[in-house]
Point group: C2
């Protein structure tokens, strides 16, 4: 039909990820293209704007992050599932430092309003499966589900571990941090017992 593409969209996403690791959140398209080895204009055959590229990177990283998180949450034992989910966060940051850094590029809450309209659906629904898994974890841990308990679980399993890891994201995440994650996570979960 036509000339085959020399570069894949994922190559550009990878390059964007590396550019962020190298130059921070305001990496330029020029830096991205230089990493790919492609001319500047080539991005626009895959991503209509710079924002599409970087939001696309964020979405891909979030989804990749969710794979392991969902696996952890699927463990048969409820307590184990909660602990494994919390510990998945430092683990992910160790195994995928650059992707973890890309996670810090945006916040969903903000992105829902500011993202290009053809991406808002993706941004809005990207957390749906995690939300379902959280509800499940909540029911298994407390036997019931309420808005407050959901917040407690989310805080214990994602927010707090992420906050602990955050200063190390992109670099070396110390091993002892796992102890801190586990200790703080279970302590917060106990708040839901009363």
């Amino acid at each position: 039909m036509a000339r085959p593409a020399k570069f894949t969209p994922d190559q550009f996403l990878d390059a964007a990820r590396d550019a962020v690791a190298l130059h921070g959140r305001d990496a330029t398209l020029g830096q991205v293209c230089a990493l790919v080895g492609a001319p500047t204009g080539s991005v626009y055959h895959r991503f209509p704007t710079r924002e599409h590229l970087f939001v696309g990177l964020w979405l891909r990283s979030v989804r990749q992050f969710h794979v392991g998180l969902l696996e952890a949450a699927a463990r048969p034992d409820g307590r184990e599932a909660l602990a494994a989910a919390a510990l998945h966060i430092p683990r992910y940051c160790r195994e995928h430092p650059a992707e973890a850094l890309a996670l810090t590029l945006y916040r969903q809450q903000v992105l829902v309003r500011s993202a290009p309209t053809d991406l808002t659906d993706d941004v809005r629904t990207v957390n749906d499966r995690i939300a379902a898994a959280t509800t499940d974890l909540c029911r298994r841990r407390y036997g019931t589900v309420s808005e407050h308990l959901l917040t407690v679980v989310t805080t214990a399993v994602r927010q707090c571990p992420y906050g602990l890891v955050r200063p190390y994201v992109g670099g070396e995440v110390p091993q002892w941090l796992d102890d801190a994650v586990l200790a703080s996570s279970t302590a917060i979960l106990r708040l839901g017992d009363s």
Copy 2:
């Protein structure tokens, strides 16, 4: 002597703070000056570059944040001091949401390398008094000081609470978060007992 200044440096810092609250981390000098009501060029009689202005804002916010933190850490009872220090973080974010947002502008570790040379000294030493207070807290809690224990205290008192509060910074920080901060902080401190 000379024409008196119509605007103070602090006015520009305040405006930078508000511009960040309004337009995010890449607020422009134009937006800052619009908030002051000053012409664009006026900034340069106080701050040689844009970076000086925003790093200056960050430094001012850090120092303001430290005031309450040092007060909390000065409490006679060691345990109370640790708890009060941890709880100071959500409190500060409630009382000074815009300044708290300015704290997220940079990270000291990065800034030490990237800041303008005439500010690196300020950046490097801005945490010194906090470091001393942390050592003191550590000694009072555990009776001894080691690198590991210092990391535990820092994580429990600053890193973890900050991580919990971070998603809410700039907006409303829920009251129940204080419970989570206290629970996770004491749980992490217990790690130092073994």
